[in-house]
Symmetry: C2
Subunit: 312 residues, 2 copies
């Protein structure tokens, strides 16, 4: 069932010892360019470098002692792998992470560095799911899903809960959409705790949430093609109804618009953000009239970037 | 005459409306790697992206009304050009900046963006100085020197004045050395306002301050060769006596050590810093025993990096 207000408050209390309250930054020069007042919620400064820590911690901390003793598992090539590994380390739980063989070596190293066991598999969704399932069958570990899970959504909502307290007034909040775990938590928190409007944003090359939202039917993403690697996943069926109910609109942006927004943040704000979190800024720049003179919160999802593969 | 304590306090009051009080950041994972508690004073978040704003503002604000009406000039290929241009804009002064013809287009654009006039010259120190001198002769403008100037040194000291207040306790502070303007201000503030020890750091490929310090004679830098472009200048004769009196030691580091430290900060802290400010961290990593378990302040000088020319 969709998390209620109380569950969001409890999630925040639950994970508080395990996460950073991240800062909210602004840039005068970007505000001038955009014609709005932007408040960047900097989850790139979160532990392990992404908001995923919040959802992973909230999901893991709700397991029973018996479940924790059996350990946890997930399949991920990226941030959720690190989030589960670090959450497991901080709570004394064993983690086994299935990673596709083409996942960057540096990410595998980070997961191992947090004390988790890494199991390689073929780089297909089928191989990832079947390998994770076999770990569940063999060890009794609990499978944690990166986004299609209400405990993860409630955990993710805490970024927006903080942002609302860290700002005097917001008109709207905008987040990117991949599997829907972040936008769902964002929209629930904005709705339960404020009158702030929630918008979503997506790359045109992975616009399944946009198409699902506009058609009213959940349409899976086939062959996503975008630099925003965190947003290639298909929208989950737990997030979709939340988006339908609580998100006002979804904007799509071109690849070059993402790259330009990414470069703008790196150059003007001197912070390292992932391509995924340049998508909301690109959407604001593309739709200046909607956001004109408004106070807008942007969830900066993370900062784990391969410095050897920059798009500039 | 070397600025006294009162002049440093006055400099801080004078420039306060024109600068940001920048944040001090820490990184648990870098602290674990280094075995010390590091406090990064983030002048990459300063206006125009570098500490140079402090010295430029302090120098400009001490001109008489008559001098201001005649305007200011300087020669610089980098941050000081932007610092003078922005300080001039904020104080309603005309600025004419001499820039070598090989200065990055993006830097010229930034200077022009702040409303200054840019005069191109041949990319030699001689051409820069003679062009700036001809502007002084023709217009009566005041020439501002990027580092060999007590007002600039006093302005630069304000970063350390802030850092000392923003931290509970420091054992030492370390800054990079180019022309000596930053280290001089740092050492004066540390000495006047605390018992904190000041260290300097330099690339081996531009180690004139190190050699001057060890020999007791000011040795100019010939053919500097380092990625740390902010540190290629020769140590000035105003900073040298301050370093001799107030700096405990100077460390030198290899190019690869600078690049490794730079990458460490980008990857772990998710902030964009210039190669110049990776030099102090590289020096700490190279001299772990000296800094073991100590609380160390590091002046992060700036974040103006050409994203198209990264060393990773």
């Amino acid at each position: 069932m969709i998390p209620n207000k109380n569950q969001l408050i409890q999630a925040r209390e639950r994970i508080q010892p395990y996460i950073h309250q991240t800062p909210v930054l602004s840039s005068k020069s970007i505000n001038e360019i955009v014609g709005a007042k932007l408040y960047f919620k900097c989850e790139n400064f979160q532990k392990m470098g992404a908001f995923k820590m919040r959802g992973a911690a909230n999901a893991l901390l709700q397991l029973s002692e018996a479940q924790k003793q059996m350990g946890v598992t997930t399949h991920s090539s990226g941030n959720f792998a690190q989030a589960v590994a670090l959450s497991a380390k901080l709570t004394g739980t064993k983690a086994t992470i299935v990673m596709p063989s083409n996942a960057p070596a540096v990410k595998k190293k980070a997961v191992i560095g947090y004390g988790a066991t890494v199991i390689d598999c073929e780089p297909t969704l089928q191989a990832r799911e079947s390998t994770a399932q076999s770990i569940v069958n063999e060890t009794g570990a609990t499978l944690l899903h990166p986004y299609n899970c209400y405990n993860v959504i409630a955990g993710n909502s805490t970024a927006t809960q903080e942002l609302l307290e860290q700002t005097d007034h917001l008109d709207s909040i905008i987040a990117p959409i991949g599997g829907g775990g972040l936008i769902s938590g964002t929209a629930l928190a904005a709705n339960y705790f404020s009158k702030v409007i929630t918008y979503g944003s997506e790359p045109l090359g992975a616009d399944d949430a946009y198409r699902s939202f506009k058609s009213g039917k959940l349409i899976p993403m086939v062959n996503p093609n975008t630099i925003a690697d965190g947003l290639r996943t298909s929208l989950g069926d737990k997030g979709f109804p939340i988006i339908q109910k609580y998100v006002k609109d979804i904007f799509t942006v071109e690849e070059q618009e993402i790259i330009d927004a990414l470069q703008l943040v790196w150059e003007r704000m001197k912070i390292i953000i992932e391509p995924s979190c340049a998508v909301p800024l690109a959407a604001i720049i593309k739709n200046k009239e909607i956001f004109k003179n408004k106070a807008v919160g942007i969830i900066i999802t993370g900062g784990n970037v391969d410095l050897k593969k920059l798009p500039f």
